[in-house]
């Protein structure tokens, strides 16, 4: 087998980077992670990042044998297509794939932005954001139904896309004074199921780290 070089331009707290690493782990693909300095405390974004993603200048970027790929959900699909032999992440039928893509699109457009509103605000604005997040999670509970995973019996692409956001929930809960488990128990149960997988728990950061990050951001924004 030819030597594969797989590098991820990374940020350990980013749920978008973490979904890529979970996908690679699911496929048993070894990779090198290069942590990017996104906030400029150690010189800023690398030349490699700026060259590899000139349009958005964002992480994650996957470099596969030197060729750059951008946009995390597109990278995850690429990983699924390029290493198809082990555990497919996308379902096999076109209709089930369409459903998976629908939920990926929904999750990507809603979860992180609304979650960010919770910690970037106080008072009424924060309350509104909390309500919105709970509604979104309830919608996802409906989509999950009685299945163990969004992919059915097996961990699939929607699970890969969604699970990294949950490491931010502890911070949202502390800042917003609520508990996801109380409002959306089915969602919490799914979260716990995913975290039992090595490929997930070995990648996701400790929620305390994210809480500390959010606390310092809130101080900078004058919210604490």
């Amino acid at each position: 087998m030819s030597k594969e070089e797989v590098i991820i331009l990374d940020c350990s707290l980013s749920p978008f980077c973490n979904r890529v690493k979970i996908a690679l782990s699911e496929k048993g693909v070894s990779y090198e992670s290069k942590e990017e300095d996104l906030f400029g405390s150690k010189g800023g974004k690398s030349e490699l990042l700026l060259k590899s993603n000139p349009i958005y200048k964002k992480v994650p970027v996957l470099l596969h044998n030197g060729k750059p790929l951008n946009e995390s959900s597109i990278i995850v699909s690429y990983i699924d297509e390029t290493w198809p032999s082990s555990s497919p992440l996308l379902p096999s039928s076109p209709y089930e794939r369409a459903q998976a893509r629908f939920w990926i699109d929904y999750i990507d457009k809603k979860v992180f932005d609304v979650g960010s509103k919770i910690w970037r605000s106080n008072g009424e604005e924060q309350e509104e954001a909390k309500k919105e997040l709970i509604e979104i999670l309830k919608q996802l509970e409906e989509a999950l139904g009685d299945k163990d995973f969004f992919g059915g019996e097996k961990f699939g692409i929607v699970d890969v896309i969604a699970i990294p956001f949950t490491s931010w929930f502890y911070a949202y809960e502390k800042v917003g004074n609520f508990k996801v488990e109380e409002c959306c128990p089915k969602f919490s149960a799914w979260e716990k199921r995913c975290l039992q997988k090595d490929t997930v728990s070995s990648v996701l950061p400790c929620p305390d780290k994210i809480y500390n990050f959010i606390t310092s951001m809130r101080k900078n924004l004058g919210l604490e």
Binding site: P54, I55, H64, K67, L69, N70, E71, S73, I74, I75, S77, Y78, E81, T82, P94, Y95, R97, A98, R101, F102, D105, Y106, Q139
Partner: protein
């Protein structure tokens, strides 16, 4: 073949993406015009989350969101492929499709703008989007379309923006597509409009301009900010 129905509205650019894909692959279907001011119970049943068109219904199974519909069509009817077969090239095509969907729809904000400030902001973002496509979309003039010599899914995605942009310019008087500043995009629009199948499946220009002119008058009259 199983029953295939497209629920859309005329002249929605998102409906037209699906119309183009079905026409390019030669797939017969029944078109159902939806009234968005009075959404049918069928539409609400098929798309309960977003309640929007287009919806493709194949053998009773509804598929929503125009790009997701295009991917479904591509996988179900592989003739005249709209995506490359190489995974890296597919990822590149999907990058453009996502860029167009995330950033391209800002042109409709020019149409919906109720004041100078909103219009200027939408114009600024639209120009940024066009400059990115101009600089990166066609390999500096090497490619006729996003993927090469043939129309693909990224072109269908962009067609919904670019062709309607011409109408938005006419109805609002805001001029964006200067051939001097955007020679690649300009050239692409000409090639897309003249391409076989596409040219037979474009909304009637005058009717479309009239429809949007009336819609804009209604928008500007309505009391909501």
């Amino acid at each position: 073949m199983e029953e295939l129905k497209l629920h859309g509205t005329w002249p929605s650019p998102f409906s037209y993406r699906v119309i183009w894909a079905l026409a390019l692959k030669g797939i017969p279907y029944e078109y159902i015009e939806e009234d968005l001011s009075n959404k049918s119970s069928l539409l609400l049943q098929y798309n309960p989350v977003h309640k929007k068109i287009p919806v493709l219904v194949h053998a009773g199974n509804p598929i929503c969101e125009s790009i997701i519909i295009l991917e479904y069509i591509e996988e179900t009817w592989p003739q005249n492929p709209l995506l490359p077969s190489d995974p890296y090239e597919r990822a590149t095509a999907r990058f453009w499709i996502k860029f167009i969907d995330d950033k391209g729809t800002v042109v409709f904000k020019i149409f919906r703008a109720k004041n100078e400030e909103e219009r200027e902001e939408a114009k600024k973002q639209s120009l940024e989007m066009l400059r990115t496509v101009e600089q990166w979309g066609f390999g500096g003039g090497e490619r006729k379309f996003f993927g090469g010599d043939e129309i693909g899914m990224a072109d269908l995605a962009f067609g919904a923006i670019a062709y309607w942009l011409g109408m938005i310019e006419k109805v609002t008087g805001v001029k964006l597509l200067d051939v001097g500043e955007f020679p690649q995009v300009y050239g692409w629009i000409e090639r897309f409009r003249e391409a076989p199948v596409i040219r037979d499946n474009l909304p009637d220009w005058n009717l479309m301009v009239e429809t949007f002119r009336r819609r804009r008058e209604q928008l500007l009259e309505s009391p909501k900010t």
